[in-house]
């Protein structure tokens, strides 16, 4: 299928990992220095075979264009992809993605890296009969990734970008010169693949439109999550758990228009026992949870996971429902910080106001303040299933 990609993409990559993230509720931007240092501290959690970042707010000059980041493994892949992009999009700007040589990122394994700032061609969009430009972009990403050998779109959102490579995450950050970018959300990931092919595209984050996901753990329900998503036209081409996460989020949040907290309830569903108990106190709400589990059974993410996903309006940290993977959260002024380890947080912010460990299945939802970005209220919390008692330490 992927004749020119020098790796077997039919083998699913299993991995353990570390992750860190930070976001300003006020939309204040910082450069990548802090996040690179934080993920660098967690290097023991990875094995030097994959690292990556997502940053939101990094392309203010092209904020309304879809920013495509592409990896090309052959010149022909680039030719074909650019022909495809020409046919389907209006190109506003294109350039090489700037890099610098660093130790740990092997240039011999590197694909050509380019980025394009695009609009769908209005006539093509109309002809496609797709409801939105986002659906059109989604289809284009799928087509390039599935059909065009040796080409891979690894970022396609607006005013955000993903940067990833084989190497340790901090080395990857330096390779992409991320201390030169500014963003209000930074998400980083260091990877421990267990059967790595050394494929750059296999590193995290995985992105789709504005969604970027980093993930620690292996999804034990991958088989059914993948088949569930296929019903909605998602093709899991990369055979990684994390790709599944990205598509689930796209389905639940963008296509089914579920509020973020409700989508989290789908992926890390409360137990029936707790829903039954809730039914006595709040039957209406229990009915909602029951319906979500019945309808979205195929979207329940089972097995160990800690994820951080970003979207234009904010970021969310989420654990599996029995907390098999670690996640620590902290607050400092308008900043919220997440990391696999407390040390990772302290590297970004040595004196947080509050630091706590979210409960299993309880999302940590961070959104831009309403005056910065209009937000919908959120209401579903783990408080529905007992007293909210995070292990909290005040510093």
């Amino acid at each position: 299928m992927q004749g020119h990609t020098p790796f077997d993409l039919t083998a699913r990559t299993l991995s353990g990992c570390g992750l860190s993230a930070m976001m300003s509720r006020r939309g204040h931007s910082v450069n990548g220095e802090a996040i690179i240092r934080s993920i660098g501290l967690l290097r023991e959690r990875g094995n030097g075979l994959g690292g990556g970042f997502a940053v939101y707010g990094c392309y203010p000059h092209y904020a309304e264009e879809f920013a495509f980041h592409l990896m090309y493994y052959t010149p022909r892949a680039q030719e074909e992809t650019e022909r495809y992009l020409d046919e389907h999009f209006e190109l506003v700007h294109e350039e090489h993605i700037p890099t610098r040589p660093v130790e740990g990122v092997d240039p011999s394994t590197a694909p050509a890296l380019r980025r394009y700032f695009l609009h769908p061609k209005p006539l093509k969009l109309a002809e496609s009969m797709l409801p939105t430009a986002e659906d059109y972009v989604l289809r284009a990403v799928m087509e390039i990734n599935v059909r065009l050998d040796g080409a891979y779109v690894f970022s396609s959102g607006k005013n955000m970008g993903a940067f990833k490579a084989v190497g340790s995450a901090d080395q990857v950050g330096r390779f992409y010169r991320l201390e030169e970018y500014q963003g209000y959300i930074w998400i980083a990931h260091d990877r421990f693949p267990t059967n790595t092919p050394g494929w750059w595209g296999g590193a995290h984050p995985f992105t789709l439109l504005d969604f970027a996901v980093v993930h620690n753990g292996e999804i034990s329900s991958y088989g059914i999550n993948k088949r569930y998503l296929e019903q909605f036209g998602y093709q899991c081409t990369l055979r990684t758990d994390t790709e599944v996460m990205a598509y689930l989020l796209d389905l639940l949040l963008r296509r089914h228009q579920l509020p973020v907290d409700v989508a989290c309830t789908v992926m890390a569903a409360p137990f029936w026992r707790d829903i039954d108990a809730l039914a006595e106190r709040d039957p209406e709400k229990a009915e909602l949870y029951r319906a979500l589990r019945m309808v979205y059974a195929g979207a329940l993410v089972n097995g160990p996971f800690a994820i951080v996903f970003g979207h234009r309006r904010g970021m969310v940290g989420l654990n599996d429902r029995i907390k098999l993977r670690p996640l620590v959260a902290a607050e400092k002024d308008d900043w919220v910080l997440l990391s696999s380890e407390e040390s990772g947080i302290l590297e970004m912010c040595p004196d947080p106001d509050r630091i706590w460990a979210p409960r299993g299945g309880e999302p940590t939802i961070v959104e831009l303040d309403a005056d910065v970005f209009p937000a919908v209220p959120s209401a579903v919390t783990r408080a529905d299933f007992g007293p909210l008692a995070p292990q909290e330490t005040t510093r």
Binding site: A11, R12, L14, S15, G16, T194, N195, G217, E218, I219, S220, S221, Y222, G223, I224, K226, R227, Y228, E230, Q231, F232, R239, R255, H256, Q257, L258, P259, D261, V262, A269, F271, W272, R273, E284, K285, E287, L288, A291, L292, R293, M294, V295, Y296, A297, G298, L300, N302, G303, P304, I322, L324, V376, P377, S378, A379, V380
Partner: protein, 504 residues
């Protein structure tokens, strides 16, 4: 019998040294194979090898063995073929049999192996951690819409179609009062109630004694329409249209007049001693649009308050048929594979028509997914689910739940002697003779059946835990958790399963 060229199938022997001459064996034999002539004497031809006498002999002095008669071996003209020819030469009849196919059919379940977690993802200990087997049968919307109030409170906007909540992904398969005894049926009904699962009336109406358990019964509407009226439809938890049965696809069923006792006649609402004929097909269904008409006739009759499902035999074109059934409005599709059981079927039909359930469930689940309508109906897999492993594999291939018939009857004492159609079952299961039916005390029977289901559920939890998931929906349709040994590529493709040795 003196004209029969067929030697007895079994050899009944009794150790006269230890025999206490209690004659219990004679009483226990429903087939009249034993009589008293100063000692117990057997009519070897009449013995069906059901082992009732053997189990109930207080001195354990009875042995029932296959008759060691030796015929010249012939791999082509097996003894089975020769015997059938003799029987048909004697009777001129279509040969009847009972229970599921006994031939050496390939069982694909036995070529499939489940996954387990090691290091990269953890197994979950079902002894300590929650394990969820709850399953809902019925139609689900494609997505949920929620309303967010000004105060942030989220509520459900999408109305849900009626679904039945099962505590375990197991239900009992349809077995009518008539084909089985009331005591056997009541055992299943009581077990279903205690377990929080469903039993199924089959096409035999609802007897007064099992009406208290109608709230957890699937009430069947088959071609004979026996016992079907508004009260019956309203009484059940779900309504099922029976199109076919795995053991006898495409043909109907006859309950012979001699099994239509006064009580059976009341329940079926037909005259005493008259044949109860369930013809094939249903005469108001000659095409898929007619099925839609009947589905909605039933939904109208129950005012859309209960799921309406359709049971079919797994046949060659099962995927397209199931898709049509879902589009016709069925809330669940019950697939019955070629190895499924029956109370009576022509053996030529049972042993030659239909396809195995493994392939059917895989093909149907995949087809419904490709068409984007998998959410619209639940899938029930049946047709010889012999163990919790078969159940787990059927669920991994795509079933929401499995239905068990033979396994449930085995738990009541059945030994698979295959003589259900005679109405003489010594175990009191497939008979209407009050002397025999009272051998099953429903309280005792329900406990044994419930034990079986609890045991399978516990085993399923163990398997889920080993696979690192704590809800059965994470196994449902997850063919990634199956690997196959010794299957050809085409079969693997249909099953959607990789060969063992291939990793993730």
């Amino acid at each position: 019998m003196s004209t029969s060229y067929i030697p007895p199938e079994f050899r009944w022997t009794n150790d006269t040294e230890t025999c206490c001459r209690c004659k219990r064996c004679i009483k226990q034999c429903g087939w009249g194979a034993l009589r008293w002539e100063h000692r117990v004497v057997a009519d070897q031809q009449a013995c069906v090898g059901c082992h009732r006498c053997e189990v109930f002999c207080p001195e354990s002095c009875i042995t029932v063995l296959p008759n060691p008669t030796f015929y010249r071996p012939n791999a082509n003209w097996t003894l089975r073929h020769r015997k059938n020819v003799y029987r048909q030469a004697e009777s001129g009849g279509v040969l009847l049999t009972g229970m599921g196919a006994d031939q050496d059919f390939p069982v694909l379940f036995d070529s499939l192996f489940l996954d387990a977690c090691q290091v990269t993802n953890p197994s979950i200990d079902p002894l300590r951690e929650p394990m969820e087997l709850r399953t809902y049968l019925g139609r689900k919307p494609e997505q949920v819409e929620v309303a967010v109030a000004a105060d942030g409170r989220v509520s459900l906007k999408t109305p849900l179609a009626p679904n039945y909540q099962l505590a375990f992904p197991i239900i009992f398969s349809p077995m009518s009062y008539g084909s089985i005894s009331l005591t056997a049926q009541k055992s299943l009904a009581m077990a279903a109630e205690a377990l929080g699962i469903l039993w199924n009336t089959g096409e035999g109406g609802l007897h007064e004694q099992v009406k208290p358990y109608a709230h957890c019964a699937v009430v069947q509407c088959a071609s004979g329409r026996f016992g079907v009226n508004v009260e019956y439809l309203h009484a059940g938890a779900a309504v099922e249209i029976k199109i076919g049965q795995g053991a006898k696809p495409g043909i109907g069923g006859h309950l012979p007049g001699e099994k239509v006792t006064a009580d059976v006649s009341t329940t079926r609402m037909i005259p005493l001693g008259s044949d109860a004929i369930s013809p094939a097909p249903q005469h108001d269904i000659y095409s898929i649009e007619d099925l839609r008409q009947l589905i909605f006739a039933l939904k109208e009759a129950v005012d859309y308050q209960k799921p309406v499902g359709v049971k079919i035999a797994a046949v060659h074109n099962v995927a397209a048929i199931a898709s049509g059934i879902v589009r016709a409005g069925a809330d669940y599709v019950y697939l019955d594979g070629v190895r499924g059981g029956t109370g009576a079927a022509p053996s030529v039909i049972r042993d030659n028509l239909g396809i195995p359930i493994e392939l059917a469930i895989a093909a149907v689940d995949q087809r419904l997914r490709e068409e984007g309508i998998r959410n619209q109906a639940s899938l029930i897999a049946a047709g010889s689910i012999r163990s919790s492993a078969d159940m787990a594999k059927a669920i991994a291939l795509g079933a929401d739940a499995v239905a068990i018939g033979t396994a449930a009857l085995l738990s009541l004492g059945c030994t698979l002697c295959q003589k259900c159609y005679t109405g003489r079952c010594s175990w009191g299961i497939t008979t209407q003779d009050p002397e025999l039916t009272r051998r099953i005390d429903p309280v005792w029977g329900a406990e044994r059946v419930a034990n079986l289901v609890h045991a399978w559920a516990a085993e399923l939890e163990e398997m889920l835990g080993a696979m690192g998931v704590n809800a059965v929906e994470s196994l449902r349709g997850s063919r990634e958790r199956l690997r196959a040994v010794g299957l050809d590529d085409r079969t693997l493709a249909i099953l959607g399963v990789k060969p063992a040795g291939v990793g993730a």
